[in-house]
Symmetry: D2
Subunit: 329 residues, 4 copies
């Protein structure tokens, strides 16, 4: 196999392979040890908690591209089943009734975390596992390793649109590394080593405001876009990637579907940050978070840090997992 | 409709209907306000976190009764799809690849929380909503109300089998109210108002040790059992129910599928506590938690309290939601 | 309940309730007795068979409105699973391998037949069964009754666009009863009592030619359209409905999603023919058939009749079933 | 790769690769040309039709091994949804209502046909296609090729248990080639070239009579059995396989899950006939047919032949498809 563009780009990128042992499949959440948990607790000042998951199966729709799998909920039992005699009544129920349902749930189809084996290049996953082991389910680097560990740490929010006086960043906008730092500076936010980074773009509002066509972009105009998204975000910059490495950031979470500028303006590639950060550094990506209320509160009290607690499900072999992370201030 | 046995039993049971307004659908998690979050933080001493979800789709199996829906994971894309040319490669991918999957997930089929509209009697859900509103999905008292609030509070563990020097409580065992208090006393655990109660029975070990037939019981011998479980647990006792009410307990979580003695030895009914606590008091039930490691740590350091953080998914109309709760000590 | 417009319209419409007994749930396919099977056989002249199902899960897409459930196929085992060691090899396999998959299949999401309980008005299904019995699954008039009987009879094709020298009928076009008869006459086709009627509109070609927006119509312009279709077809005419009754037509099949003019130009209602023919006469509706090759052959040899053999699946409680009907000439 | 036992066994087995062109993916149903259709019609004497599919999702259960995927039906809309206001009513509905549902349907989980790419050995599918093309879906030899062609021909039934005066063949019983011929002879049945062969074992009755444990056998006693079935049936015999080849049999259908003796008493292998007949000869296998009523009628009128019409769904990439075949006498 000849070298791909992704391989060429990331040839000398910093890597955490081996840092937590050859068998590690959890990656940078290993940074979140007891000390980080205790540090996270210190961010709690008011006892206010914010749940960051978006609504699933709401009438307003799930932000999933047309044609892709979207979450569906199916009713298995409700009051109607009792009325129609579809539930066997036994004496010991004593008139008690219940409801049940089931979901068809794409593991990246709502607020979720990516497993480290969700993306790769050069036939190797994080920590050097062979990409062949993804066949039929992630034998290595599945989401269960991270779910077992849990995600508890201090997080800081960078609220880009507020910093720029916008309701949301424009389609395809590149948040440069220097702009990210300016935003944190202007907020007076001190990002410390091992902090989880939350980035607000406001972009999800475009979807929830009903501008669905704008949200998914014009697929036909730019046929080179394999994935009909035109989201704003960070993208590959050598010093940005080095900074994530040096600061030992365990996780990056945003209010976009892809966590980075869809079509990378610095490299011409799709999703290079996924490869540099997830595959090479073992970082955890949390996507499609609703950061609106948290951001308002941060703007109000000028504290942009919080205790962040999240736990994907321990899905054996899963490429990701839905979650409803909680920020506590 | 003539009065059912469940109605007769719970005629004078304490109720929280109206306590948080006529439109409330979240119930007793409303107790978990800022003060409770701050109190929870005080339980964190070591910075140790325990993820309490069980494995989903593991080879050891999911503890779901035969014939009922079990979680299934379906692969949508893996390395094989690339090898077989099933993924359209576009230039800008640059050799980057990824995996995706989807689950069929019964909302009570793994570690989960019950929505308040999951159970009812007398055609009324918690807070008086009409049971007809469950048809096709919970229009009221769905899990999203609780998921929006989040579950952050101080929890205490009652480790019954350790107290009784057993690996697990026997099938169908009744944990009496007085035994629960004795256990907490002997542990030196002070359960305070607004604490979340975690009860360990060890019963899930029967399943995970491979004794599946023992776990699900002999359905044929006792045909009056509609639900082939014979789990140990608390059951309806008037003073127990009053105590939950007086102590304003937001949530009860256990390591069993049903959170209470399946076939109630005090009432002859199925699941009366679900009705008394969920439907009447609006309490949150968390079921199928893995409490093993947490319990070991509590036995080690003699601290049976923790900060408990959990967040079901915001599933519109859902009768429950999977979750992976975290206990932080 | 006050009388609805549908009830008013169909107050005196001919009905087959009771014709095959009070318990009958199969309806007009009961006309298809041994004599009809033998008559069907007589239509076979060349031994040529045409399979009338459309492709399911093809890359060209399934003609399902955006936002509705579409057929999905999930791989459970393929060569990749063997390569990744995901299939337990036992000695007696001797190197034999296999593949398996599973579908999520909406029962009206591809070529299919409607159960008689699929539509109703006035709270009564075909043959007078209570609409409450549909809750949680069709206790009466499910597709299994028809699937048990099977659909074997003589069919005749009315090829409207060929008759009118069009590639397909225009959006929303009303095929009048007199035009239907003219078409059959011009074709030289003698529709006999108990014949199955196949109507070609060519409308599906709009979808398969990639004009998806045209196919589903402009939902926003006509907000009164609950169902974003604008298909051409027959609609309610009193003498048409009487003719179906008098001719004892067992089934109507077309190459459209809804088998009738979506927004009825004679009544201002949605799908009144479904009610008059399925609910009142117990007729079988087959929808989304691919009639292209059959129609070409009929135009070639001037024989517009065939032996029609189809069998929905015996799905207990199902509101319909996919099928791949066969026309034999 | 060293030679496997399956390769060794089938080294010189007759093959139809290339017979219908290098690109053929339909195999032996190609024998079913116009002449065979006309010959099939001649078997119709009484106009009696038998639908051979089993019930799907019936209360009696689907004959699917515990732990494997079973068909599930989910209700999407019924009368309860209208009562609960879950369906948006628009004026033009005029009071008309409807029901809808969706299935989770394993493609081998009820009466079905196998795609030619369902089984293979030596990394080659029927007609020499590479087994790598199965990854993520059958790029070659999927069920759609057969579904496009349809299955219309003359079939003959061999009713083994009636021949042997048994209600059903014993578990694991080997139907030898000579016994098959004796049975046909004793019935007075002339199997002709290009006939479809239907074999009745009566074995499904064990399941439908409620003897589920007996049906699936004792998995623990014989751990070498990867697939917990112990069905009776034909198995590999050199002259049997040659006879299928010489007689140019398009399809073999039985009333068992696996169409052959599960654990082959002649070879010690699992399912060798699948490889010899499907992979090498391109034969169509139809499994889990209900042959009870057909068999009774054959015994009554001593005619064991019929017109057989079946059509799997045109599922792109599918490893099989459910069907409800029809036998017409």
């Amino acid at each position: 196999m000849s070298e791909t563009e992704m391989q060429a780009l990331l040839k000398d990128t910093p890597s955490n392979w081996g840092k937590w042992g050859k068998q590690d499949e959890a990656g940078a959440v290993n940074y979140l040890d007891n000390q980080q948990v205790l540090r996270a607790v210190l961010s709690v000042r008011k006892g206010l908690s914010f749940t960051l998951g978006i609504d699933v199966c709401a009438e307003s729709g799930d932000p999933v591209a047309p044609g892709r799998h979207r979450p569906q909920r199916y009713m298995l039992r409700d009051k109607g089943h009792y009325e129609a005699g579809k539930v066997k009544r036994v004496k010991c129920c004593g008139g008690g009734e219940s409801s049940e349902d089931l979901m068809s749930l794409p593991l990246h189809g709502t607020t979720h975390f990516d497993a480290l084996g969700h993306v790769w290049y050069g036939d190797k996953l994080y920590n050097g596992f062979d990409a062949n082991t993804t066949k039929g389910g992630l034998q290595h680097c599945g989401i269960a390793a991270i779910a077992e560990h849990g995600v508890v740490g201090r997080a800081v929010l960078a609220d880009l649109p507020r910093f720029k006086n916008l309701s949301h960043l424009p389609a395809g906008y590149h948040i440069s590394f220097s702009e990210l730092r300016d935003c944190l500076d202007k907020q007076g936010t001190q990002l410390e080593k091992h902090d989880i980074l939350l980035i607000r773009t406001g972009w999800l509002n475009v979807f929830f405001d009903g501008r669905v066509d704008e949200f998914f972009g014009d697929d036909e105009e730019k046929p080179e876009r394999s994935f009909n998204l035109i989201e704003p975000g960070l993208t590959y910059e050598e010093d940005l990637v080095q900074w994530f490495y040096d600061m030992e950031i365990p996780a990056l979470c945003t209010d976009t579907l892809g966590n980075e500028q869809t079509f990378s303006s610095t490299t011409g590639l799709h999703f290079p940050l996924h490869r540099a950060l997830i595959r090479d550094q073992g970082m955890l990506f949390g996507e499609i978070l609703n950061l609106e209320k948290l951001a308002e509160d941060c703007a109000d009290d000028h504290h942009y840090d919080c205790m962040f607690v999240a736990a994907p499900l321990k899905i054996t072999g899963g490429t990701g997992s839905p979650a409803n992370p909680i920020a506590i201030k």
